[in-house]
């Protein structure tokens, strides 16, 4: 079976071939093959043995993917195919600048517009704050404020559409 796994900007295909021996599997990434024996050590910890050398790795399942710690490095590893499916249902964060959504979990500080207001591309709509850092979310295009789905003081997360903007001179798809 195959996985397409994304770390930051880089996606790689991993082929995995499980054997009858329960704790062994052969992994292939690009032209490299990794015969691995693995042992769960605790709920979040595995021992991976490659060429007789055992490495301790930590795995934690988060909402965005799995956080994985290997040899002093922490990575967020995401299933690229699952992410692609999610994206059609729920907008992602940075890849779709068309949506007015916070880039991180945040609290709404100020709403700068009202329903029905005309807005210009780049105009500030909502100010959010997270950990003492303020960010202004701006209009992705010229248009009219169709709906405001939040309020001052509300806790918001990436993917929440805070303001809907009807595009100027265009029916929205």
């Amino acid at each position: 079976m195959k996985y397409r796994l994304k770390i930051g900007e880089s996606t790689a295909e991993v082929a995995v071939n499980t054997s009858d021996e329960k704790d062994n599997a052969l992994f292939a990434i690009g032209d490299k093959a990794y015969p691995i024996r693995f042992t769960p050590a605790s709920e979040n910890c595995y021992h991976l043995t490659l060429d007789g050398k055992t490495t301790r790795v930590y795995v934690a399942r988060g909402e965005e993917g799995k956080f994985i710690f290997v040899k002093g490095c922490a990575y967020l590893v995401q299933d690229a195919d699952e992410r692609a499916i999610q994206k059609t249902r729920r907008s992602g964060m940075d890849e779709t600048p068309g949506e007015v959504t916070p880039p991180m979990p945040a609290v709404v500080v100020r709403i700068l517009i009202r329903e029905g207001d005309p807005v210009k591309r780049g105009q500030g709509l909502v100010v959010v704050t997270a950990m003492k850092m303020e960010t202004t979310l701006v209009a992705p295009w010229n248009g009219t404020v169709k709906a405001i789905n939040t309020a001052e003081g509300a806790k918001v997360a990436p993917g929440d559409i805070l303001v809907e903007i009807e595009k100027e001179g265009k029916d929205h798809e």
Binding site: M1, K2, Y3, L5, I7, G8, A12, V14, A15, V16, N17, T18, K22, A25, L26, F27, A28, I29, K32, A33, Y34, P35, I36, F38, P40, N44, Y46, L48, D51, T55, V57, Y58, V59, A60, R61, G62, K66, F67, I68, F69, V70, K71, G72, C73, A74, Y75, L76, V77, D79, D94, P103, M104, P105, A106, V107, A130, M131, K132, M133, K155
Partner: protein, 494 residues
């Protein structure tokens, strides 16, 4: 000595203060907001008092609620920590008025030194070198323009009530002046309720070197040597070390004397920090006094052997300092780095959320002052600091290597942290050579990308976890997917 102390703060610093209290046999009172019901400082304290909603203005910044909590708990003193109300003279005053000692300098000293131009005047008259510039603030752009001509460009415009880089601009030519002053003034007005500005000569690539001081009520003042804090991002220190890689013994002595003079001139009592800028020619200039315990105080504790919080308690209780300058002899080298809940891969955006795995580093010479645990939800409302990792060793190079080792051992999963970024700073040749200036990050780490050396293993671990979960504790589930050429492979080779 006090029998009970209220800690008017949260996070790692509240925990750190409580540790010393426990060692001194002092009962501790925590205060907390809605978001912090299960925070480490609440769990660490002997008792905890609820302040109110998560918004700082309705909890940790609310003087009335804090004073009420102090009275209700029967606390005999209040420790403000750093941040929040630590440098707010009104809070110190309110404590004084209630008869509960504020563990820090008097309200008057905090007020005087918080006014940056008044502080410059105090230092100037005490013979402490100040950065060339103005000693009176103004909002008049023409007056500022005239002063800038006199001082010579580039100049730094600063807010008289400033701090944390707010209301601060670098101006390199006359035509930028008006616009920069307007925006700096409005930013300062918003942040501090005071829009007055003053100018200082802009020093090129200085180092930030500060001296720890202790002053008792009897007028005795000592310094506990320097900390170099040149590595900063958005005007916030992220790495500190002591001793500074560049101070000569004579320069150290001169700066230490200046720091003690600065403390005496301002009537300082308790622990404080005198900050200087050191230019490439070896001239140093007074920057400001931080009238509180610093985030980076542990490196001084590691090299001098003194517990600064204990010293603060003794001073606040009216006891004289039991040390003379000659008895303070720092040993070895210490470094600290601040671990933030920020995503270094995404413009350091804040990364609040639930910590899923937390394993702290240990081993010789490693100390972690930490405000999180596995399962803790890092709140979106407060500062992103999670922990301060501190190491001590015989030499700078040993400390640097120890810090890399400790950072590589530190597991925090569930949120993004600055650990990978910090590891690369400590590994960089510029840091190794001690070329630490305030523009270090812009100069060397503008275009940082994370180390992908273990990405393959991380991807494998992802799948291993899928396999383990799908197999479950009971019986193996049929593998999903389709056969691959690997299944027909005779033997494995790397």
């Amino acid at each position: 000595m006090f029998r009970k102390v209220l800690i008017a703060n949260r996070g790692e610093i509240a925990v750190r203060i409580m540790r010393t209290c426990r060692e001194m046999g002092i009962q501790t009172v925590a205060v907390y907001s809605e978001a912090d019901k299960a925070a480490p400082h609440v769990l660490e304290a002997h008792e905890a008092i609820f302040l109110g909603p998560s918004e700082p203005s309705r909890s940790y910044l609310n003087i009335d609620k804090l004073i009420a909590a102090a009275k209700q708990s029967g606390a005999e003193a209040v420790h403000p920590g750093y941040g929040f109300l630590a440098e707010n003279p009104a809070f110190a005053e309110a404590c004084e008025a209630t008869g509960i000692p504020f563990i820090g300098p008097t309200a008057k000293v905090i007020r005087d030194l918080g006014n940056k131009t008044l502080a410059r005047r105090i230092m100037k008259s005490a013979g402490v070198p100040v950065i060339p510039g103005m000693v009176e603030a103004t909002t008049d752009p023409d007056a500022l323009q005239k002063e800038a001509e006199r001082i010579g460009y580039p100049v730094l415009v600063k807010a008289v009530a400033g701090g944390g880089g707010k209301g601060m601009r670098i101006i390199s030519s006359p035509d930028e002046m008006k616009e920069a002053c307007l925006s700096a003034s409005s930013e300062a007005q918003k942040a501090f309720g005071e829009g007055s500005l003053y100018l200082e000569k802009c020093l090129g690539a200085p180092r930030h070197v500060e001296f720890q001081i202790l002053a008792d009520h009897q007028g005795h003042v000592v310094h506990l040597f320097e900390r170099e804090c040149s590595i900063q991002r958005r005007h916030q220190k992220i790495i500190e070390e002591t001793p500074s890689p560049v101070l000569t013994p004579s320069l150290r002595e001169a700066m230490g004397k200046a720091a003690v003079s600065a403390a005496k001139a301002s009537g300082y009592v308790n622990a404080g920090t005198v900050e200087f800028l050191l230019d490439p020619s070896g001239s140093f200039y007074f920057l400001e006094v931080n009238t509180r315990l610093q985030v980076e105080h542990p490196i001084t504790e590691m090299t001098t052997g003194f517990d600064l919080v204990k010293q603060q308690m003794e001073i606040a209780a009216g006891n004289p300092l039991k040390l003379e300058q000659e008895q303070i002899i720092p040993k070895g080298h210490a470094m600290e780095c601040r671990i933030y809940a920020e995503d270094p891969e995404a413009r350091f955006l804040p990364s609040p959320g639930r910590v899923l795995v937390h394993q702290e580093p240990s081993g010789p010479g490693v100390r972690n002052d930490c405000g999180i645990y596995a399962g803790f939800e890092v709140p979106v409302e407060y500062d992103p600091i999670l922990s301060k990792l501190i190491v001590a060793a015989g030499t700078r190079e040993e400390a640097r290597r120890r810090m890399i080792r400790a950072l590589e051992d530190y597991v925090i999963l569930g949120i993004r942290t600055t650990i990978p970024f910090l590891i690369d700073i400590f590994k960089s040749p510029a840091f190794e050579e001690g070329k630490t200036h305030t523009d270090f990050i812009e100069r060397h780490f503008q275009d940082w990308h994370p180390n992908m050396d273990s990405a393959d293993l991380a991807r494998i671990a992802y799948i291993v976890d899928e396999l383990a979960v799908s197999r479950g504790p009971t019986k193996q589930v049929t593998a999903r997917g389709w056969p691959t050429p690997w299944e027909t492979l005779g033997h494995w080779r790397l």
